[in-house]
Amino acid sequence: MNEIAADGLHLWRGEAHVLQGVTLSVSAGECLQVTGANGSGKTTLLRALCGLVPLEAGHVSWRGTDIRVDPEAFHGELAYLGHDNGLKGDLTSAENLHYAVGMRRRIGRHEIATALERCGVPAARGIPVRRLSAGQRRRVALARVLLTGAALWLLDEPGSNLDAAGHALLAELIAAHAGAGGLALVATHQALGLPAGAQRSVTLQALTGQGTAAREDRP
């Protein structure tokens, strides 16, 4: 029952019918990779699943309840990583995590240090995010997702700017999250490198050259 389900999502962006009846579901302990060509609507789909973009038709449900019924309860179990890292350049990594995660749950200094270390940027703790490299910022943003302690991860191109070790770390984090009963929806072009069976994938496919529907890729 611990699952997110999208049913017949339709969404227009101006003249373009971006999502044309996307239906998918993810259950506990599962990772769903969303692939598709540039402009096929991966980001839009993830933002629609968050509830950031209102849908024209269809609905998204979390544990059997429409997410519009109690968005705050849903967001409490959701960690979203978008194209933007959601970090303030003028604050240090530790301050960023303190404020961003602290608004959701109580968090201690030690926990922040541990998460930064797990994400391979222990030295970034006291450095303003503005002075970090793009890859390091992405790792700090991953530490935020990790610290949120949410059951559902929606990650949009989480591997952008990451090096090879970063991609391995990402696969490890997602596998650990799924192993602990969490759910992950990852929009990415690259293979995630998860062990076989730990992951399903759907491709957002162009229907009319403008819009997309989801097609499950069966191995």
Binding site: E72, H75, G76, L87, K88, L91, Y99, R105
Partner: protein, 229 residues
């Protein structure tokens, strides 16, 4: 996980602390609107015939046009950075009432850009020849006026969040709504300087501020949601 969920007030306090810290790190940007206000109000006496009666006549206009333009200038600081670096969408997803968080941001914004205007208003007013007896009326007027201006302006800033050159459109959106503040504020100041009771325009200003505080959070949340869509 829900057991460890944090209350709204703690979350809002944390957000306020974050914004104060950011403002401290960019003190120049934060103080710019205040400097602008001081420059406008001091240029008036310099550019006019320095007779006290003339200065007193134009004092309300100089003070309030200065306050209005300065608060318009300050609006750029409110949501723009948060919108660009993605922290605003994280706020929308942090499982706290969005309208409340945006109101907290606006309150901090007022403390950083509106409150300083209130504090220097007596200085600017005395440079324009206002008698000391007029100060309480002027202070009360600027206090209520900047609160209303911050709240109205925040809605406009939310609506123009995604536009690249949002400054001119923001002014077009906000200025008509801010006209009542300008009228009643200037009237209160003029009455105070003339030695009369400014109670009537002050009551209207207060009503306007309460009205803005009641409706702005919801309008703000709706506007910013459209902006980050």
């Amino acid at each position: 996980m829900s057991a460890a969920r944090i209350g709204f007030l703690s979350a809002a306090a944390l957000l306020a602390a974050r914004d104060l810290r950011l403002a401290l790190r960019r003190a120049g940007d934060t103080l710019l609107p205040l400097g602008f206000f001081l420059v406008i109000t001091t240029l008036f006496p310099l550019s006019l015939d320095p007779s006290l009666s003339l200065l007193r006549d134009i004092a309300p206009a100089a003070l309030w046009v200065g306050a209005l333009l300065s608060s318009l200038l300050a609006l750029d600081l409110l949501f723009r950075d948060d919108g660009q670096d993605g922290t605003l969408e994280q706020l929308a997803l942090c499982a706290q009432p969005f309208a409340g968080l945006l109101l907290a941001k606006t309150v901090v914004h007022w403390c950083l850009t509106g409150l300083p205007l209130v504090l220097v208003a007596p200085l600017a007013a005395s440079a324009l020849g206002a008698p000391n007896a007029a100060m309480p009326g002027i202070l009360a007027g600027v206090l209520l006026g900047t609160i209303a201006l911050s709240l109205i302006g925040a809605v406009g800033a939310g609506l123009t969040l995604t536009l690249r050159r949002n400054g001119s459109l923001l002014a077009l959106l906000v200025l008509p709504l801010a006209v009542p503040v300008l009228i009643f504020g200037a009237r209160a100041t003029a009455l105070s300087i003339a030695g009369a009771s400014p109670a009537a325009p002050l009551y209207l200003l207060a009503a306007f501020a309460v009205f803005a505080a009641t409706l702005a959070p919801w309008a703000l949340a709706a506007a910013v949601r459209i902006g980050i869509e």
